[in-house]
Symmetry: none
Subunit: 193 residues, 4 copies
């Protein structure tokens, strides 16, 4: 017995879009490309999505969902705030550097690049950043440390890694996360002149 319509090819389209947006960017990917990768004709895409913009929003939405889930799962079993922060960095980096085309799109595609979708993309992104604000708020830090600056610095550093990271390089996401969080800890060893 066949499953009725459970074999929709919409997820296939979404996967293809995520893969291409992630590798070539939004403007560098044509609707033709996506359709081709999903094994359909360009016009057929529009059975599933009204617009190329909407397709991006759908990818982005799922990207944010997945990266949120990954970070929350990584953090949940841990109690120490610095351990939690480091675990979040590991999860974030693994998602945006290796595992997950959807998550990679979230970091790769600038909302401003897609005027028709910018508002929706930013709303998603904000949702994710709230999660980091909470992680940073829990850190024991010297008085007057600017926690917002710390969050922006760390997330910026992590996201920018997409621009230079090579899978074959020395440092894995795990190592990188440890290095970055270590650099932010207040208690570091005294330098030797």
């Amino acid at each position: 017995m066949r499953q009725a319509h459970a074999d929709s090819r919409a997820p296939l389209v979404l996967d293809a879009a995520a893969r291409l947006f992630c590798h070539r960017g939004y403007e560098g990917t044509s609707v033709r490309d996506i359709a081709g990768a999903a094994g359909m004709l360009p016009g057929s895409l529009y059975c599933h999505f009204d617009t190329k913009d909407d397709l991006l929003v759908a990818v982005y939405l799922r990207g944010v969902e997945q990266i949120c889930t990954a970070v929350e799962a990584a953090v949940q079993p841990l109690a120490d705030p610095w351990h939690r922060l480091e675990a979040a960095c590991v999860a974030h980096l693994e998602a945006i550097l290796r595992d997950d085309d959807y998550a990679r799109v979230v970091v790769r595609v600038r909302p401003a690049e897609v005027p028709g979708a910018a508002r929706r993309l930013v709303a998603q992104r904000d949702r994710y950043e709230a999660l980091w604000a909470a992680l940073v708020a829990a850190l024991p830090l010297p008085r007057r440390t600017d926690r917002r600056a710390l969050r922006l610095m760390l997330l910026g550093a992590l996201n920018w890694a997409q621009n230079w990271y090579r899978a074959d390089g020395a440092s894995s996401p795990r190592v990188l996360a440890r290095q970055f969080t270590a650099l932010l800890k207040p208690h570091r060893e005294t330098p030797t002149p």
Copy 2:
């Protein structure tokens, strides 16, 4: 005696390209747009540049030159390594956030986005990063601190600021630079539990 071609409009074209690449990105800017902004017709651009890629390379090259100059000038009068690092951050942020369309292009346009120019762009970018490697090498840091990670973290955080910085916001480039470098200093005050 006048220079030959002193009235060339090539610089005009370059300025227009820098402004547009910086505001709309490479793919978001058409040759028509650039020509229009420079007061010419599209075909006329090709008197000065062979391809759109070459135009980008020229902008990028000058962008790297200008940001190098700005950073070196900011650093030169100072002796203390941390002061020098902070001054470099100020100069970098001012260039890529406010002053300089050319420098902003260097951060905004991903080399991989322009296959025909990627190699040349990366070569320029590497030239600039060497400058930062020297600044970081001079810092007094605890043994076993990974200086490459520090450099990547700091530069990533600075560059990513282009994605969230608003000129009307609370923190100026100067404040931001101080905050970021402070967060990386080993000797910070003990947190209060």
Copy 3:
């Protein structure tokens, strides 16, 4: 005993098509639009009509029927040929300007615009014009008046009203009909120089 298919949604489709053809024209209306307005999906239309052309023919057919009925009903109680003509004009104008989406389509859509249906549309239209030929034939007119010219002139003037008539304007269909027929009567008052 109920009619079979008493709950058919075909009339709904026809109404939707009439409304849209009348407001946006034949080429300006898509099968999707009609289906949407009838609360179905595009494919479902084809349960009731073989092609878009056929749908137009059905609308057109009913439009001619309704306008014929309206004109005949208006004329029937009257005996005087000029009164009958004026009553016919009122009925015609009310149908094509206000009341009746079906009738409006008859005037709005040019047969030549729809090659696959042109022959059938013209046949319907001719049926209606015969009615007017009879009305004009009954008029007491000077010898050698060209009655065909009179019919073409009057019907043309009436139909063209669709292009300029606004419901909120000064002249109602009733007033307009009186004015147009008055202008055609031979016995008019002598002008004052």
Copy 4:
């Protein structure tokens, strides 16, 4: 010596557009069709016109100009108001039925059909109607004749002729004009019952 750029093919494009708009309507004519008829590729049209709408406006504008010129030239040598009206009808009919693709477009294409150009088209059309208002104003007519109704009736009848006129038919534009104006004259012979 060759003429510099005097051999632009823009007029060719305009002619092709006028011919096709006139025969197939605005929506029934594709940019491809026009380009093909002008011996170019579709994209090349955009050297001369920004949009399909603009192309229509250009055709329409020239159509109104030509029909104005034709009517004014026909009327100018005559003094008697009824003779002038009849001559205007002849000129109008000849333009919209036979001679002039541009003028035919003015009658054939409904402004409302082309939202992006509607305002401009109506403005042109109004310009032409003012000319007829003047012709009608000069007629010696019975008191209380509604001159606006007369103008609308006559012009409507003339324009609608496009829907039924066949060149091979009995009545030429000249004959038709005589018949229509005669039907509107107040002094007609008494009918014989």
